[in-house]
């Protein structure tokens, strides 16, 4: 009896997985059709098959992966910088009202500023090189990270804090053993939110004054009317985002799986 159930469950799982792929393929066919029938000009919307073949060519020849790597490097720098600075800052803001009160107005003031809006101003100071891009990425990623970190640090159960204090732990130990673990899901949530932001901002900053990177590549292809190549670049972008997300989820699962157990409201 038990064996039969597990077999049918396995089958359902396989079915589900293939359903998703089926849908994806169906969608691809529809798009191919739209282009071939010329509902929109096939010059600007080539058949998917053409885009895919161009994509494969460019990947094999190494052009796309190279550009992607360059973008990724910048992204990683800005992202890591934001994490390294904002997580500690956020923890301090979360546990100390004084620190919070000092920085909160600044954060609230700068937060609504969309990253593209600051690019012209940042360019005046940092030019158009890598430092400008990394700074803009850093700026954009900072906010989700710091806000979530503050939230996480603040919502530690008071009981834990009291217990820790009554055990005589000093401030540093409290942070390390109580607050940090408790705030981790929120911090991870913030890190997860900033990931696509860092990608988008990296692309955006590459479209202004860059000589490499996948954003620049897409732009260049558009300028020179190499439309299938442009779409190939866009596809690469989608893939990068997809894999980054998957990797992040994996890290999330393996490193902090223990957390979901005893927190009532998970992520």
């Amino acid at each position: 009896m038990a064996k039969r159930i597990s077999v049918s469950r396995k089958m359902t799982k396989i079915f589900r997985k293939w359903e998703g792929i089926l849908f994806f393929i169906l969608l691809a066919f529809v798009l191919e059709g739209i282009s071939r029938v010329e509902i929109v000009s096939s010059l600007y919307f080539p058949p998917i098959s053409k885009d895919i073949s161009t994509f494969l060519n460019l990947t094999v020849s190494g052009i796309l992966p190279l550009e992607t790597l360059k973008t990724f490097t910048r992204m990683a720098c800005g992202y890591v910088l934001a994490a390294l600075i904002m997580i500690p800052l956020g923890i301090f803001m979360g546990i100390s009202n004084k620190v919070y009160n000092v920085f909160e107005p600044i954060v609230e003031l700068l937060r609504p500023l969309p990253p593209p809006a600051i690019i012209p101003a940042v360019m005046l100071f940092l030019g158009i090189g890598n430092s400008m891009k990394v700074f803009v990425i850093f700026f954009a990623c900072s906010f989700p990270i710091i806000l979530n970190t503050i939230d996480g640090s603040r919502s530690v159960y008071p009981t834990f804090l009291h217990t820790a204090r009554s055990f005589g732990l000093n401030r540093y130990q409290i942070i390390r053993r109580v607050i940090l673990p408790a705030a981790t899901p929120q911090i991870m949530s913030g890190l997860r939110t900033s990931l696509p932001i860092s990608l988008i901002v990296a692309i955006l900053s590459e479209m202004i004054g860059s000589i490499d990177g996948i954003g620049h590549y897409i732009l260049r292809m558009q300028r020179t009317f190499n439309i299938p190549e442009m779409y190939a670049g866009i596809m690469m972008l989608g893939l990068v985002g997809y894999f980054l997300n998957k990797i992040f989820l994996w890290i999330d699962k393996t490193l902090i799986a223990w957390h979901k157990g005893w927190r009532i409201s998970g992520i």
């Binding site: 000009s41 030019g127 004054g209 732009l219 260049r220 300028r223 020179t224 009317f225 190499n226 439309i227």
Partner: protein
Amino acid sequence: MKKTIIILTTCGFFLLLLCLPMPRIAVAEKLKVINVGYIPIGDCLQLYVADGMGFFKREGISVEKKPMQGGAVIAPAVEAGGIQVGWSNAISIIIAHSKGFDFQFLTSGAISEEGTNRVHSLLVAKDSPIQKISDLAGKKVAINTLGNINELSMVALAYKNNLDIKKIRLLEVPFPHMETALKKGSVAAILAVEPFVTLSISHGTARYLVKSVHKTYGEKFMIASWFAKRSWVVKNPQKASAFVKAINKASDFISAHPERTTKFLVNNTKLTTDLIKKITMPSFSSKFDKSDLQRMIDMTARHNFIKKLFKAEEIIIQHIQ
């Protein structure tokens, strides 16, 4: 109860927003309206004059001016039909044609002539050690957009000076940011257009490396002009020819009364009157000289921007061939 009031007020607010003045989306086919995409720079003077002097009205058409960032946005818009006529530099249209797009130039546009009408210059920082083109090897040069006349000019310049273009790294920088880029050392040289050439030099930031970049194209050539899809021209012959007539009238006006064009520039480009006095403007003509364009096509092919040479007639509408 309170909740309901809040919901109702917010809905009312949104409805009010929707009633705000709608952007005028003219249905071009029903009325005699043409949407024209342009870049708010001095080069599009013909449009400003034709509009401001009422030439379009006199030809029986109404023109909706749509300022846009550049050719890269204008071309897809023309392709999709959102705008019927657009302004583009010659090279982009040449490349587009080689890729199968059926764009055609409607009129003669901004012409660069030996003597007073050279508008593009290559500048370096005032204290830069760079003295000649070959010094640019391994350095970054800023051009406004890729795949256009400025990129081709750099390629041609490099070629002439026996420098492999691959050694120069071309960077896309909008014109107004070029001066800062130069100052910060992000780029070693900038290929700028007016008024930015005059501005950078007068600020003391830059000096000329090559005063007239486009010399390589010959005595006279067409920088940019008004284009449309061939299929649109075929379907709307009256509108197309009305547009052409009005623009040609404007070209004649500009040639005859250059001093009277200042106010049109001020109104349409946010250039100030003082700046206008200092900058160099291209020349305009109501006669389309095919060789002005053919030279560009030849250059484009020679430097491998396009694979095959073709005749200028392919991208000029019948009317004016």
